[in-house]
Amino acid sequence: MAVRPKLMIGAGIAVAGLGLIGAGATFTTQVSGSTSISSGDLGLSLNGQSQSSLLVGVDGNNLNSHFTPISRAWC
């Protein structure tokens, strides 16, 4: 059975209208919460100097780096 074009247009408008109701007929609101987290640094020093390698010194004077660089131990 053929459907009249006017009827189809009318049905289309009605469906579109329902779609609009569904899309915009909702009350909305929102709340939010936040915080801040910071991480610390771990620094190593020997003989008053910050290095990534272990220095051996006498009387405050660095003699040499005798060991492989040490990694920062993060604890």
Partner: protein, 187 residues
């Protein structure tokens, strides 16, 4: 067979009389009854607060800021941060979305932080995983939950790393991250 003029006239009058009866259908007694109902629209009014020391919120009650935490080591826990969302509306509010942002100066810090969310009275957390996965993982569970009019929902939020989960990586040192949760409601 030809009809006489009188017969035709009488016939015509008869048809006209029927027509009048038909027209009289619109002249029947009429009456009606109407039902009336007043519908008022409610106003959504959600607020957020916390009992955790150092927390503060904006005057409209929409934005809560918990006290800054740190500097933290590779293993840390903020402990439970109690967050209370209240529905001060006259209508129920349904949770539809949880948005999580975490701007940071250090992505390794942000990606190494875990978050646990435990609802008051619940035996197990609704979420216990990476902060970075919270939005995509928790929204399906949270979506559709309703806070009835005049009631509130309390949750304990804990940020942590280490212990039962991996600790922060070495590259997370010296960073700052600001996790922000935004909860959307419909009513």
């Amino acid at each position: 067979m030809a009809y006489s003029r009188k017969v035709l006239t009488v016939g015509a009058l008869g048809i006209a009389a029927f027509a009048l009866i038909g027209a009289g259908a619109s002249a029947t007694f009429t009456d009606g009854a109407a039902a009336q109902k007043t519908i008022t629209a409610g106003t959504m009014n959600m607020t957020i607060t916390s009992t955790t020391p150092g927390a503060w919120r904006t005057t409209d009650g929409k934005t809560l800021t918990l006290a800054a935490y740190g500097p933290v080591g590779s293993t840390f826990s903020t402990g439970p941060q109690t967050v209370i969302v209240s529905n001060n509306s006259s209508i129920d509010a349904k949770l539809v979305k949880l948005s999580v942002t975490a701007p940071t100066s250090n992505e390794q810090l942000r990606d190494g932080i875990y978050v646990k969310i435990q609802m008051a009275g619940a035996n197990s957390p609704v979420y216990d995983g990476l902060l970075a996965d919270l939005e995509s993982s928790a929204t399906p569970f949270i979506k559709g939950q309703t806070i009835a009019a005049g009631t509130s929902m309390t949750a304990d939020v804990t940020f942590y790393a280490g212990d039962s989960k991996p600790s922060l990586p070495d590259g997370a040192q010296g960073g700052v991250v600001v996790p922000t949760f935004t909860v959307g409601f419909t009513g």
